[in-house]
Symmetry: D2
Subunit: 175 residues, 4 copies
């Protein structure tokens, strides 16, 4: 069993990507393989060239579609933008194959924010979408707020968040 970690923004050098790597290292400690899908690697014009009537026809986007279909477990790293998830994350989901991508699969959610919400609404919205798609979402959501203060030099210096993440990782492996 291997897990796909979706780094849910296309911002360059994002904190999401750094948290994705941290998550991967924590999974490795539990002998669990994982792969990171960084949305900053999506084709630049995918939102026009890989959705709707172009769904499934894009030579660069298709391998990502296939990747999602073969995994059974997903971790979403979700930065809070404008009170919800980044638009690119939903656009990516809009380009995936329905219903094979997420139906009866499993997901864990991690929220990140500069402010104090930790992406609470972002994770709520994403849970609605995943539930609509038939994915079982781990109840335990980790919401890391004030990310600039609490995460430095690729490390969660706030140890409470580090422990919450450890607990989620363990529970998700067993989920």
């Amino acid at each position: 069993m291997s897990i796909l970690i979706i780094s849910g923004t296309n911002r360059a050098n994002s904190v999401s990507q750094k948290i994705a790597k941290l998550y991967q290292s924590k999974l490795k400690t539990l002998n669990t393989d994982s792969e990171i899908l960084n949305l900053s690697n999506l084709p630049k014009d995918f939102i026009f060239s890989a959705l709707y009537e172009n769904g499934g026809k894009h030579p660069e986007f298709n391998p990502l579609r296939e990747k999602v279909m073969k995994y059974q477990k997903f971790v979403f790293i979700v930065a809070e933008y404008n009170g919800s998830f980044p638009g690119v994350l939903k656009a990516f989901i809009d380009g995936l194959k329905y219903p094979d991508s997420f139906k009866s699969k499993k997901a864990a959610l991690v929220g990140l924010s500069s402010g104090v919400q930790g992406g609470a609404l972002a994770l709520s919205h994403l849970t609605d979408i995943l539930s609509y798609l038939g994915t079982n979402v781990l109840g335990e959501r980790v919401k890391i707020y004030r990310i600039e203060e609490n995460f430095k030099n690729d490390e969660l210096i706030n140890k409470t968040f580090d422990q919450l993440l450890d607990a989620q990782v363990k529970n998700f492996v067993e989920f």
Copy 2:
């Protein structure tokens, strides 16, 4: 393993209670025991006498608290009132022991409505609450709309809904 089905309203002779019984019979077909907790059996003044500083002190409410604590799996039958779940359902949850009642347990949700929503927002709100409490909610939510047309004489005469319910029951038993 046995499942607690929460009939989520205190309205007398509610459709929720009838759907709860239907759910129970479907579980039985899969050799799965269940018990129904009908919120119409709550103490009449529990919202004042069994919450907050009175939490855990009410001789009639306490057995219900204990009941919730001993179960690992819950089905919530949720009628849509005023665009969400019935207030009594949340008030009941507010009277339960935290975090032992729902943490790391499992839940499946069924929504009912007179209109066309099937309790979509009610189930979304309840999922937020259960996620907050650390419950793993089955992604597959069944939303039975136009309940008066589709459910008659204790039967889901709309066979699509009956099949959706069968599928959820099966998946929840295996969840």
Copy 3:
């Protein structure tokens, strides 16, 4: 014009009630009258005796129903319980007359929490309900987190929150 402030919990000596009084004093500064409806004054068994088939028949609950119907503007003070609003608040709404109570009226929301969310999900859920009822909700929601630290001796000692509340009060009077 006068405003009805709903202190949204029935917990005795609640912080919600104290914030309701603070809100009232701020409204007074702007020459705006208001009245506080404290849910701790609801009939103890209203959830059974004043809803559904008993709607509109309860001699003590009816005056509260009438009160809501005559107001055009509402402030909801909403403490976060179990990741959402208190169940009693929704149960109260379930006992009101539909659709005359809130249709085409106006509301402002204030969230309170011990943790860092400030009731973000509680206010989201309540907005859904009020939107369903046709109420125009002021976009500007004030979310006061870590209420025990930030509110002492009937005062918002965290001046940022006090200013956010002042701004909301002003904008709601003009809304």
Copy 4:
């Protein structure tokens, strides 16, 4: 006063665009000018070239940013994709100037769906985002379900939806 109608998908020949035009004609009946912003006219790679560090630097995206800033009232036509709004709509919002684009402005929401939800969750999520941005959202949301049956030849042949839309248009002009 003029209103900006945002046709919230980039799908070619979308129903959203047709409903946007219908909305515009209804506004005209009330002597209210409006302009339609069709997201299918966004630069193909805007999600990479006009957001984050590129915010405000894109020669084709910037005029759209400016357009949003000058309007005070917005109508969002929101098709339901995957249980929420189209990702492109949120990505568009992510590229706008904060907080000048929506703060203290007004919005009305129309949901469209092939199924029976009428975009209920999509509109709930969008309301959260707009509330976060400080926009006052008209409580009255119109949710047009089974759009293929109910909208034909550029007309809402289901007259109930047509009347609901008329009522919203009138109330939004006065909002």
